[in-house]
Amino acid sequence: MAGELEFEKPVIELRKKIGELKEFTKNTDVDLTSEIDKLEARLEKLESEIYENMKPWDRVQIARHPSRPTTLEYISLLFTDFFECHGDRSFGDDEAIVGGIAKFHGYPVTVIGHQRGKDTKENIRRNFGMPHPEGYRKALRLMKQAEKFKRPIICFIDTKGAYPGKAAEERGQSEAIARNLFEMAGLKVPVICVVIGEGGSGGALALGVGNYIHMLENSTYSVISPEGAAAILWKDSTLAKKAAETMKITAPDLKGLGIIDEIIPEVKGGAHKDVAQQAKYMDKILKDSMSELLAMSEDALIDQRYEKYKAIGEYSFPNEFIGVK
């Protein structure tokens, strides 16, 4: 199978061997059924050993898997009547972000997400899912439109980060991200964010100020890529594996830190192994979140978002408080 990952090789090799034995049994008179049964039992054990004890770096590999499902795949499986809207009305259409209107179980919503490509050609078109300012401004335009028509907003986060380029800086990458954080804070409609792949820094957060932040089990969310962190902190980007552990970037880590709300379980071995099943897992949590948030008033939604972010941070006053209050 293409795109197998280093840590799951034992599983894949064993599976291959079982396949070979089955083929052999079919074509000859030698009966190996008992052998096969034994091996299959071993495979099951091995699978649970490997997939249930994944290290942060293993999850990074899954989050970056070339066939990992993208925003548009989830949109096609979770929503109906999707109508894609293009352009920021000022500069252009950034295809690293997609968005539009759709129905979720019959309920009108706006859905927005980073969009990676799955092959080189599409990745070039999508700029590897790394947006320019016009991408964020398109997203904001669609959010404001959703607010006008009182539609809940669902954001899928999947980017290595905002694009670091000359044109991006000229057009105000910083301002575009900052503006989204600011405006998302005040949206009068429910906002649900789901990290589906890599959640890279400010470029991810710019679609990530919501009432609920969920993460797929094998997605990551971080202030900097493990490679970048290793380069800055230890001047050695090959220490990325160590950085992935130290920086606490996996869904279980972030749940532990109180940053995210729910971990959406993934199918064994990662979402790419069964997208349809993965969409079902996601559907359940989205439905729960939607019904909770739709019961809230506009003010309550804004207040909930305020309190949510206000609570993040670790600090203390070990000495006597001497400032004015």
Binding site: A162, Y163, P164, G165, K166, A168, E169, E170, R171, G172, Q173, S174, E175, I177, A178, R179, L181, F182, E183, A185, G186, S201, G202, L205, A206, G208, V209, Y221, S222, V223, I224, A229, I232, L233, T246, M247, K248, I249, L254, L257, I259, I302, R305, Y306, Y309, K310, I312, G313, E314, Y315, S316, F317, P318, N319, E320, F321, I322, G323, V324, K325
Partner: protein, 292 residues
């Protein structure tokens, strides 16, 4: 012996040429050399000019204490949350030691000083980032102190002024530092919706997560001349696009040219200009009109 004293001293055997190091060696503290135009001037004179080079206008780095002195009315500053210190949420190796070292070096508890003060008599809530502490990087404490200063401005209905100086997010606090971008922006939004006035003054350097949050969210976005302001690092961009960037890339002047700033203002004029903006935001004036 005595005779020797009156005889002409012997010719020096060696010519003494002042070494390069000695030439550079300006008595510490008394004189300062401008790194831009190389002019050597009295530190006192430089300080009197808001640490702006008297010859070329180069803006020397200013720490928070100097900023308070030069920008706020004398004796008006009252600090908030001075004793707030960071935890080590990720259990990051050596982080606690690094913080301790910077505390000793700077006399500050964190990379931002917040408080209340006045500018030509106008009360403001103010946050001043200090790049001498951990490069002004934003962790939990920086985010929380700035948020509290915004909330204070909201509570007292006074403008919020922020001087930014930061390398960006604080790596050692990982995603918690990223979330401070959201926290401060959410607070600014509430303040803004309540009619609050936000003035952001970007100073050297304002990059990464700080530039992509509160620094860019002023009703007025201003900058000191020659400051480095941008989202991504210059080297990363050069590596990504594989071409050389213009000399003035990501400077205040570059941002002004590209429509990202309201104005670039010399530090020497800053207080007066800001006071002017504050003045315009005061209620007042008389205007008579006739109803039809």
């Amino acid at each position: 012996m005595l005779k020797e004293l009156f005889t002409k001293t012997k010719k020096k055997k060696y010519a003494t040429i002042p070494s390069e190091a000695a030439k550079q060696d300006v008595p510490e503290g008394i004189m300062t050399k401008c790194p831009n135009c190389k002019k050597i001037m009295y530190t006192k004179e430089l300080n009197k000019n808001c640490k702006v080079c008297i010859q070329c206008g180069y803006h020397h780095q200013m720490d928070s204490a100097e900023r308070i002195k030069s920008f706020l009315d004398a004796g008006s500053f009252r600090e908030l949350d001075r004793e707030m210190v960071s935890g080590n949420p990720l259990g990051f190796p050596e982080y606690v030691e690094k913080l301790e070292k910077d505390r000793e070096k700077t006399g500050l508890n964190e990379a931002v000083v917040t408080g209340l003060g006045s500018v030509n008599g106008y009360d403001v809530s103010i946050a001043i980032m200090d790049a001498t502490f951990r490069m002004g990087s934003m962790g939990s404490v920086v985010g929380e102190k700035i948020t509290r200063a915004i909330e204070k401005a909201d509570e007292l209905s006074v403008p919020f002024i922020i001087f930014t100086a930061s390398g960006g997010a604080r790596m050692q606090e990982g995603v918690l530092s990223l979330m401070q971008m959201a926290k401060t922006s959410v607070a600014l939004k509430r303040f803004s919706d309540n009619g609050g006035l936000i003035i952001s003054i970007m100073t050297h350097p304002t990059t990464g997560g700080v530039s992509a949050s509160f620094a860019s969210l002023g009703d007025y976005n201003l900058a000191e001349p020659g400051a480095l302001i941008g989202f991504a690092g210059r080297r990363i961009i050069e590596q990504t696009i594989r071409e050389d960037l213009p000399e003035d890339f990501q400077t205040s002047e570059f941002l002004l040219k590209h429509g990202q700033l309201d104005a670039v203002i010399s530090r020497v004029d800053l207080k007066e200009k800001i006071a002017g903006i504050l003045e315009i935001h005061q209620p007042g004036g008389t205007f008579e009109w006739q109803e039809n």
